[in-house]
Subunit: 465 residues, 2 copies
């Protein structure tokens, strides 16, 4: 039996004990169990379904003191951030539970002779993320939204935090059993091969993923190549550009500069919404402020050895292609002209970690051209003033064709979990631009519409009546 080990990012040392890799045979057996659970779970009265999510939330909350140190050892994200993340995770579970309990959940439209309902798609595979060991992991947003839709879930744990994942899974399994969930409502698998077996498992009907473009593309390709292709909701890479107008620099340039450094170094730049590009008017004069802010950032311990290596390579790539504005122990800031930027499409590739690139534009035309060339992103941000509302309006209109969320005079890091969030966007931000992986609309990814034509009310599924 192969054991998988986490690594302490602060020391580089292997963390004992290891977690057993899941065999393909076990993955297949878990798929069968999930398929068996699908109908009883779908037919649970909706308040009972919601209660399952709440039971998991309660159990995670009660175990926070045990889970946070486990996760900190594997991720070095720190107790404060990780405690907040447990709260976010339990908050998500409760928000989605409330949605499932709400009036008319699952009922889409009805008219004489017809009812259109939104029913669970079936067993869902969830590929956990490195950078959110709770909120985008075992009982994170993908899992919570699949459960809220009424789907059994099999999680592929992220190799960056195997012990946190395994322990969270034990807590989840126990909470679900106590709350009366059908057996097979939840399972976890570990290991690369188990992840590939899972995406190809005939009982899996959809998958959610948060991670790199490379990993996400490999799983997307597998999902699309099945004899029966299944929906694959992948959240991959995003450059999250920020556009600052001249009027905004004049009104509050220093505040913007400090806010930008704070945003791109938050969580050591390991957020999918990290701003990777800042468009400033040439002659902005903000380099002293930017440099000071960068110098004040503490040295990061990045999540995994792979991420550390990737970041080093990314910084070398950027350093070779741009001018270095500021380099500190904890952050790297580069700059190019808009002209140079237009000639180097590779500058729009995400560099995961605390690095970012300033693009200096010399005219509104250059700014507009840069906006029109934005690759698919989760977010774009505009900093402007009432005096240049016309320009801002034009930027927003164009950006709405390239990104899932537009932030005005704020920062993209920090994603609200609410009913109107869109955490998604065109490729390469996601593999499914119609959907979000954050907020209540995330449930919709795992619901299929079914029209009932001419059925007397007592023949409709009870959750639809």
């Amino acid at each position: 039996m192969t054991l998988l080990y986490g690594v302490d990012p602060r020391t580089g040392e292997r963390l004992e004990p290891g977690v057993p890799e899941t065999s393909p045979e076990t993955v297949a057996a878990l798929g069968v169990a999930a398929a068996k659970a699908a109908r009883p779970l779908a037919e649970l009265p909706l308040p009972d379904r919601a209660a399952l999510l709440e039971a998991v939330a309660d159990a995670l909350e009660a175990a926070a003191d045990e889970l946070v140190p486990l996760a900190d050892a594997e991720t070095a994200l720190g107790a404060t951030r990780l405690s907040g993340e447990v709260e976010r995770t339990t908050g998500q579970l409760r928000l989605l539970a409330g949605e499932a309990r709400g009036e008319g959940f699952q009922q889409d439209v009805a008219e004489p002779g017809f009812v259109r309902a939104l029913l669970p798609i079936g067993p869902v595979a969830v590929y956990a993320a490195s950078n959110f060991p709770f909120a985008f992991s075992v009982a994170g947003g993908d899992t919570a939204s699949a459960w809220a839709a009424g789907c059994p879930v099999i999680v592929k744990a992220h190799p960056g935090h195997p012990r946190t994942s395994a322990r969270t899974a034990e807590i989840v399994t126990e909470a679900l059993a106590k709350a009366g969930a059908p057996e097979g409502t939840f399972a976890i698998v570990h290991g690369f091969d188990a992840g590939m077996a899972l995406i190809n498992d005939p009982n899996i009907r959809a998958a959610g993923f948060t991670g790199s473009v490379r990993g996400g593309r490999a799983l997307f390709d597998a999902a699309a190549s099945r004899p029966d292709p299944i929906p694959f909701y992948g959240e991959l890479g995003s450059i999250n550009p920020v556009f600052v107008t001249e009027a905004a620099v004049a009104a509050r340039g220093e505040e913007i500069a400090r806010g930008y450094v704070g945003s791109f170094t938050l969580g050591s730049g390991q957020f999918c919404t990290k701003p990777g590009l800042l468009f400033l008017p040439a002659g902005h004069g903000l380099e002293p402020v930017l440099s000071a802010a960068v110098a004040a950032v503490a040295a990061p311990a990045l999540l995994t050895p792979q991420i550390t290596d990737g970041f080093r390579t990314g910084v070398e790539r950027l350093a070779g292609a741009t001018r270095t504005v500021a380099e500190g122990a904890g952050a790297h800031l580069f700059a190019v002209s808009a002209e140079e930027f237009a000639a180097r499409p590779e500058l729009t590739e995400e560099c995961f970690g605390p690095a970012s690139v300033i693009v200096e534009y010399s005219s509104e035309e250059e700014l507009r051209a840069a906006v029109a060339a934005v690759p698919g992103s989760l977010t774009a941000t505009v900093h402007a003033e009432p005096s240049d509302a016309g320009l801002a309006r034009g930027l927003v209109a164009e950006l709405a064709r390239h990104v899932g969320r537009i932030v005005y005079n704020g920062w993209p890091t920090g994603v609200a979990v609410n009913r109107s969030m869109q955490h998604g966007g065109p490729w390469p931000a996601t593999t499914a631009p119609l959907h979000t992986s954050v907020g209540t609309a995330a449930i919709r990814r795992f619901q299929v519409p079914v029209a009932f034509q001419g059925l007397p009310d007592d023949l409709l599924p009870p959750t639809v009546r």
Copy 2:
């Protein structure tokens, strides 16, 4: 320049004049034009966008006397059916126009500081169907729903009716120009290579398709293999099983038998909702009625030489695997026991044309097992009586996991175009089980959510405010 020709299904003769095949260079140029049209089309005030669909509906209505004979020559569907289909097509355009004009169209959810809007995804490729030369073709449901979403459309004409498609496209182009549509809002391409170039065109952001499993899979694979994968909404093959309880046979067996033959031979069995399987209790005694009904069906002229060949092969396959119940000039009816059926999964493959298979079950257990094994289908139908409501309820609950629409005591052919229709289902019925290609919800396939965070109202796109 290669010319493409339709074939008169009644005579097998080639129809002059031919329609020029579209070169890959032209496809690329049309993609660029569609991309240029995307933003002005998205920014048209919604009433003006709706007016475009209505202008096309008016123009098609005015041209019906010209279009119907053209289509009849290429498809042999008959003037009555084709006139009705033009009406359905104009009705769809007007229904979707009304949706786009409706209060709150494009606005999804709003809460303090956030608005989530549903904006056009960008240029859409539409692959037209053989069996609906109007309603699922040039200005059919896919095109109408993409326009309603605010997307430019490039149609790949079906080779079965090139002249009808080309003439319809001329009428559509003229109507759009007169109504003030941005140039590039619509184009048509002809030929297999043009279709493949279109799905790979970098300016195309999504595609709709109605047709065979083979053709749909090839295009789906191409869409998924792009450097930037795009959503592909394919409606492929469906077996549409019908389940009849003992009580229903006792109460109205002959009516059901006649209704079934009527449904599977309607339009010469060339509907995607044609019932391909009828589950009857063994000893039903309906063979005389079924045989008489089959004998009364007139010989069909199937849509294309390819469909005629495919039907011949399919009938031979079924004849070799089953018992022949009735064979007429215009229809073929076969039967197997539920036990034989369970051993021959190939009997669930669609045979496009007027043929169907009766499956005789000996117990409710056999019936339930057959229902649990239903492959993904657009529809399933249950015929039952109040006396066996418990059985019917169980069948409906299971079928809701396999199909997009459940019909009670009716027939699946004849698809209502309304707000609660679901014309979709799990693979192989479609490539996108979350979506419908019929009804107002079809628009949703071409809308991407965008969240606006912290934007003052006057900076929001005007169609969102």
